[in-house]
Symmetry: C2
Subunit: 461 residues, 2 copies
């Protein structure tokens, strides 16, 4: 948006699209003055997505004041762009009539996306505001399971019988009153409404009127089963460069269409979820409160407390060894921490490879072999300087040998564990991004302490 | 693809699009028999992206044999879909004539994507194979910096003077011979080739021939500066639900167009990069060798070795304390590990919020305040059971109090550090995903050991 950088911010590298103070200032000034016209003027140049971001970034009180002052101007698009938690808050603050007007402009897929996470009372308010035909469409979409293609699809379709020619198709489109706002293909169907191919609008536009649609159909054509998981849908769009894809029911009949912008949004969400899960942070947003955020993060820390207790248990087996040689206490976190890092590397690569379907039965054993060899090499490369340094600093060559050996063992185990834990979790139907970290670091901690202290007890005392 | 699950694999939860053994088997059988026709038949039902995945998943030897046998059938699309490292390998194995034919079918943006990472000799071979006009277009794209919109854009354009009507536009399209394979908008330009708006093909198709194009133009219209970073481009497509966007030079003149499928691919790559960087794993793929992978991972482990040494240095300050009370050595990893986990949570949320532009000058201080409060709450919630348990197990109430206090301190520091480190790195122009982890865990390790052992020394001895 604004190109000039504000100088007093802590985030100076603001990209071209960041909402900076230049954008925020007139909005807050209009709010302070209680000037609804100035507020509308300040929001005017902003895209609905940016207005939504702005509403998410201000504090609760400011947001409520903005919603009250902006009031009637809040449209369906802005509501669609809001994050769930903020959206509920804004919807609750809107007058029923404003809400009804806002929702009626939306395509059915956007209405579904808008209301699926609302509570039932709010859902009913919105459903009541819709025209009867739209209401039926939305309720039908809601009857599909969450995260399915059926929830994602749009029911406004542009279809043509497969035997039509270009002229018939164009005349039909010109006669239609209620075309979807965005569409990129004309779907060809057989008499039983089963899609048989599609024609890009570009080809439709550039071909003579007498050309048969079937002759213009794209070579590659894919339908999406209505019950398919939305993650798989996003994968298919990305893998096969789809722009839109017909959705079919169990009898292969056309029930809707999914477009790439929705698939892109899902891909984005799934990635975000994976990153946060890998870090032991549940879903949630920056606008959540302290209490909600604490509730979301404590469980993972509590699990870590238990596994850290396990490490402590291992160490306690060697209390006498440590009492005899306190240097061991100084050095033991090095071995554990190196194992934790190497395990996380291996695990992250594996979790991503599973998610991107790059790790399959065809290459699993080759990749495991590679990870273990990498672990061994890493261990040897790093054990040498570490061992030497320890031997020199503590004047104890055997101590250097022991920590080096323990490091090699732990990095080997880290590599193997980092691979096998996510693969095994996937096999058990548990999201590897969610649970791998705990297991892998427990393994590397326990093995790290055990190898180092055990070897030390055997070799040094 | 194949729905039946192979039973002898370790990854039984194969999704709908995974290449499983059912797909691999006929390919490998054809290869073993040296039967080129059977191989072509086995590849026939596969999308180019799947053939590319298959070539990535087999070992080097099998891949070379497949390329030799499939030979002339390898087309530009398959080459485009291959990962860089494998692509070089395959291109080197192709006959020059096959390569030339393969490349000539591609749009210029795909050619640029194909050759930008190749060595110069391979680049020249491909450039020589292109028609003169395409060659110039590709060379012009390559003159833009890597990762810029200029590299990403396609130069095949569908434009119309802004004063045209629908009939003129359609007649023009029908008369064009060399339209891009995929296009979704007609870009309106003024006499100086500056884009002034665009019309979706759907509107063009459904409007009467006499309608002025300017009357059909989309309300929201954005151009992309040719020097913009590709990450920003992907953000704009996702944020503003763009399907295609005109690219303009410094004088606002139209130089190309970027379509959403390319933006989606970039979004996917940027996410992947962030995930791998957060885990201290550089770019690379499962098909890289042991040596390349070791080289990529060792630096991060080496950095961790240095920071772990720092922790050891802290612990060594308390050798006497530990010698007097060995239980401290047993318990001290708990405090450090909890801090590391809490810091990683806070850091990951912050890194993502910076990447998604959800963290701005408008909400920075509010978010910092929230993180610190969450850290404090987490600390108190977890310090109570930990302190009680330690007091009971070791029969030492003061030891319980010390570990509880140390935990609260470390979780507070972890929360603040997890926020401030990535924000500061961003300010310094360093990718926060790349370097935050090292700093945050160093802080939590050092503070964790120092707080626990320091408090213990002061209170218990």
């Amino acid at each position: 948006m604004a190109d000039d950088q504000s100088t007093d911010t802590m985030l100076p590298e603001e990209g071209d699209y960041e909402l900076d103070r230049e954008v925020m200032r007139p909005v807050l000034a209009a709010l302070a003055a209680g000037d609804a016209a100035a507020l509308t003027a300040a929001f005017e140049p902003l895209h609905a997505a940016d207005i939504a971001d702005l509403l998410e970034q201000v504090d609760d009180e400011t947001r409520h004041a903005l919603v009250r002052l902006y009031g009637r101007e809040i449209d369906g698009e802005i509501l669609s762009e809001l994050k769930d938690s903020i959206r509920e808050d804004v919807i609750a603050a809107l007058e029923p009539q404003v809400l009804a007007d806002a929702v009626r402009e939306l395509e059915t897929d956007d209405v579904v996306d808008l209301i699926e996470d609302l509570d039932e009372a709010q859902q009913d308010t919105i459903l009541d505001a819709l025209e009867a035909s739209d209401r039926v469409a939305v309720e039908q979409s809601l009857s599909y399971p969450e995260y399915s293609a059926g929830r994602l699809m749009q029911r406004e379709l542009v279809v043509a019988p497969e035997h039509w020619d270009v002229g018939q198709a164009i005349d039909h489109l010109r006669a239609q009153e209620d075309l979807p706002e965005q569409f990129y293909h004309m779907i060809l169907v057989d008499p039983r409404m089963r899609p048989t191919g599609y024609v890009t609008l570009g080809r439709l536009l550039s071909a003579p009127r007498a050309t048969r649609l079937a002759d213009l159909a794209e070579e590659s054509f894919r339908t999406i089963p209505v019950m398919q998981d939305e993650g798989e849908v996003a994968y298919a769009f990305n893998q096969y460069h789809l722009i839109s894809a017909p959705v079919v029911d169990a009898d292969d009949r056309l029930v809707g269409v999914i477009t790439i912008d929705d698939a892109m949004a899902i891909l984005d969400e799934e990635h975000e979820e994976d990153i946060l899960r890998l870090a032991g942070v549940g879903e949630g947003s920056l606008s959540d409160g302290v209490f909600a955020t604490t509730l979301r993060r404590v469980p993972w820390l509590a699990v870590n407390l238990v596994t850290a207790g396990l490490s402590a248990l291992v160490i306690s087996q060697f209390e006498e060894t440590i009492a005899a040689l306190v240097a061991l206490a100084v050095l033991m976190p090095i071995v554990a921490s190196m194992g934790g890092n190497a395990g996380t590397q291996s695990m992250t690569v594996t979790v991503r490879a599973i998610a991107t379907k790059d790790l399959t039965s065809a290459n699993l054993w080759r990749v495991i072999r590679r990870e273990v060899l990498v672990g061994l090499h890493n261990g040897i490369v790093l054990a040498l300087p570490l061992g030497l340094l320890v031997a020199l600093i503590f004047g104890a060559p055997m101590l250097g040998a022991v920590i080096g050996a323990a490091l090699v063992i732990n990095l080997l185990v880290a590599a193997a564990g980092g691979m096998l834990v996510p693969v095994a979790l996937e096999k058990l139907g548990v999201d590897p991004a969610l649970a791998s970290g705990v297991f892998v670091t427990t393994i590397t901690d326990v093995v790290g302490f055990y190898a180092f202290l055990g070897l030390a007890g055997a070799m040094l005392l």
